[in-house]
């Protein structure tokens, strides 16, 4: 038995039956990292081996007197979530040596549940990108085909889960940064409703869009990990104070009576033929399983994308104003005065894509353009939100592709920012409206690359997504049928 092949709920079962120990689990993962990390390069920081083995031994000791369900389970964390005592770099030169003095709320929750971090995972710098090619440190490679990108910005998290370097991971999603890499790497990825998970300790990119969520091997694991991280936090005033739910209760193999919308614009122009075919096939599957699937219209893709790049960049230009070379982060060696410290530290510390977005954000917020771009985009946001709300009066879920294409080749889009942005067209509208969305691996294309489908739910209706995703998973049997081959 290869321990790293198992899902977390399978690991829990085996721990319960005392068939394996946490030490064995952790050592299997460390061996796997030794073997495969050189090809995939999913990590920015791998935790100290001795330290994690020691933590696993302690967990095993604790378990002797009864165990909490997730005690001794390893996890990977995207490198934009603060971890006390371990570097949090955001894959940027700006934060190359930054060690947070506190844990993000989600990290605190992982620890409270007894989980063991295996390390911090690679990403596009400050989560700006869709391929993880914009990491300051190194690229991450798609485990299915090492010549291709893993998607982004949580590309390290998705690749690590797909390559069995971690059993599950946390990512963050501002415009698709959990779902798109999950789709490109053939894993499950959930962006929860805005406000379900605390953002305290997540390095801010666009505060009204950012949300933390799980990347896992299957739908059940996603429900288990969401149970851990969801909940109100007084340190994040945008987190909602709602009753705690047990999402595993929603895992029912039954979609009878569910109404699913299939927006025709998301299976039209710009969507790869094989991806389109997979979505239509998934729609048929849902029908066979007893759901009602109906074609509808949701003509918002391009407007949502334009809105996204205005709002996200505006918020980023403001959020990234804190990096000034004074209190933390990179400081240039070239300066005579305070202004020079700011300017030179920012110019040398940020990469080109981050600078591009700061400049765009500053432009749309600057006097003379504020109304035409920023204010207008906020109004369009209201219109987009309303269109979704109207659809959800009639339907339980919306089915679309997660990504318009499968994973593209490294370097294929990195030189054209706009083309890279268009890769987000299926995921961005969901963030604009603040809705929950999940990628579920569906099939592979003719080049043996994973294709995912996206299920979008109404506000705080993650249960419906879980129910439909779980049901679909039982018939696709993606994990049983397909495995990453590390093709070179």
């Amino acid at each position: 038995m290869d321990i790293t092949e198992l899902t977390v709920h399978e690991l829990i079962e085996k721990l319960d039956k005392k068939e394996i120990t946490s030490e064995e689990i952790v050592k299997s993962y460390l061996d796997r990292i030794d073997e495969k990390e050189k090809d995939v390069q999913a990590f920015v920081t791998v935790e100290d081996k001795e330290k994690v083995i020691d933590e696993a031994k302690k967990a095993d000791e604790k378990m002797k007197s009864g165990r909490t369900p997730l005690e001794g389970i390893p996890v990977g964390i995207k490198d934009n979530m603060c971890t006390k005592g371990v570097k949090t770099t955001c894959s940027s030169k700006m934060l190359e040596n930054f060690v947070a003095p506190y844990d993000a709320t989600v990290v605190e929750k992982l620890k409270e549940n007894g989980m063991i971090s295996l390390g911090k995972l690679n990403m596009d710098e400050f989560a700006m990108g869709g391929s993880t090619e914009y990491s300051y440190f190194h690229k991450t490679y798609n485990p299915w085909d090492l010549n291709r990108v893993p998607g982004g910005s949580s590309g390290g998290s998705a690749a690590a889960v797909a390559a069995n370097l971690v059993p599950w991971a946390l990512g963050s999603d501002t415009g698709g940064s959990i779902r798109q890499p999950a789709s490109l790497c053939g894993v499950v990825g959930l962006k929860p409703t805005y406000g379900l998970v605390s953002r305290y300790g997540l390095v801010a990119f666009a505060s009204s869009l950012d949300q933390i969520g799980p990347l896992t091997k299957d739908v059940t694991d996603a429900a288990i990990l969401l149970n851990v991280i969801a909940g109100h936090d007084k340190k994040d005033t945008t987190s909602e104070n709602i009753d705690k739910k047990d999402y595993t209760k929603a895992l029912k193999n039954d979609v009878k009576g569910m109404k699913i919308a299939l927006p025709k614009e998301f299976i039209g122009e710009g969507i790869n033929e094989e991806v389109k075919k997979a979505i239509l096939d998934a729609a048929e599957k849902f029908k066979e399983l007893g759901a009602e699937v109906e074609e509808c219209s949701l003509d918002i893709g391009k407007q949502a994308l334009a809105t996204y790049y205005i709002i996200a960049c505006a918020e980023a230009s403001s959020n990234l104003g804190r990096f000034d070379g004074i209190r933390y982060g990179y400081r240039s060696e070239k300066y005579d005065n305070l202004k020079d410290i700011y300017k030179n530290s920012r110019s040398e510390g940020f990469g080109p894509e981050v600078k591009r977005r700061i400049i765009l954000g500053t432009y749309v917020l600057s006097s003379g353009y504020y109304d035409a771009y920023y204010k207008k985009a906020q109004k369009v946001r209201t219109v987009i939100k309303k269109q979704y709300e109207d659809l959800f009066k009639k339907y339980d879920l919306i089915l679309t592709p997660t990504s318009p294409t499968v994973a593209f080749k490294i370097g294929e889009k990195s030189s054209n920012p706009l083309e890279m942005y268009l890769a987000d067209i299926c995921t961005v509208p969901v963030n604009i409206a603040g809705l929950p969305g999940m990628n579920i691996p569906y099939t592979i294309d003719s080049n043996k690359m994973p294709i995912g489908v996206q299920l979008i739910g109404s506000y705080f209706e993650e249960e419906k997504i879980f129910r439909a995703a779980y049901t679909l998973e039982q018939v696709t049997k993606f994990r049983e049928k397909y495995k990453p081959e590390f093709r070179k």
Binding site: N97, F98, V99, P101, Y194, G195, S208, K234, T237, T238, E240, K302, Q303, L305, A306, Y309, I310, G321, D324, G325, I326, R327, Y328, G329, Y330, R331, Y335, D336, N337, L338, I341, Y342, K343, N344, R346, S347, F350, K355, R356, I358, I359, L360, T362, Y363, V364, S366, Y373, K375, K376, A377, Q378, K379, V380, R381, T382, V383, K385, P417, L418, G434
Partner: protein
Amino acid sequence: MQISKEEVMHIAKLACLNISDDEIESYRNNLQEILDFAKTVDSVNTEGVGETIGTNENYNVFRKDEVIDYGDKEGLLKNAPSQDEGMFRIPKVLN
């Protein structure tokens, strides 16, 4: 609308970023292309529509203004590129 080199330089100054002469043109091109696309928002009729700042209903969330001692001053200062006697060190501001 055409974006000029001067405008790019002005925005870079506002954003506290240096842009070298050979970078200006590529930033100008990118900005032009992205802003042209961003104009897609104009195709949406927003007459009488309010602005969405965030997607949840919370507007102002208040709490008591209480001082909580963070405690770990050393941890906070540790990341500073330059510090002295428990303070952040910066170059002289007034001459």
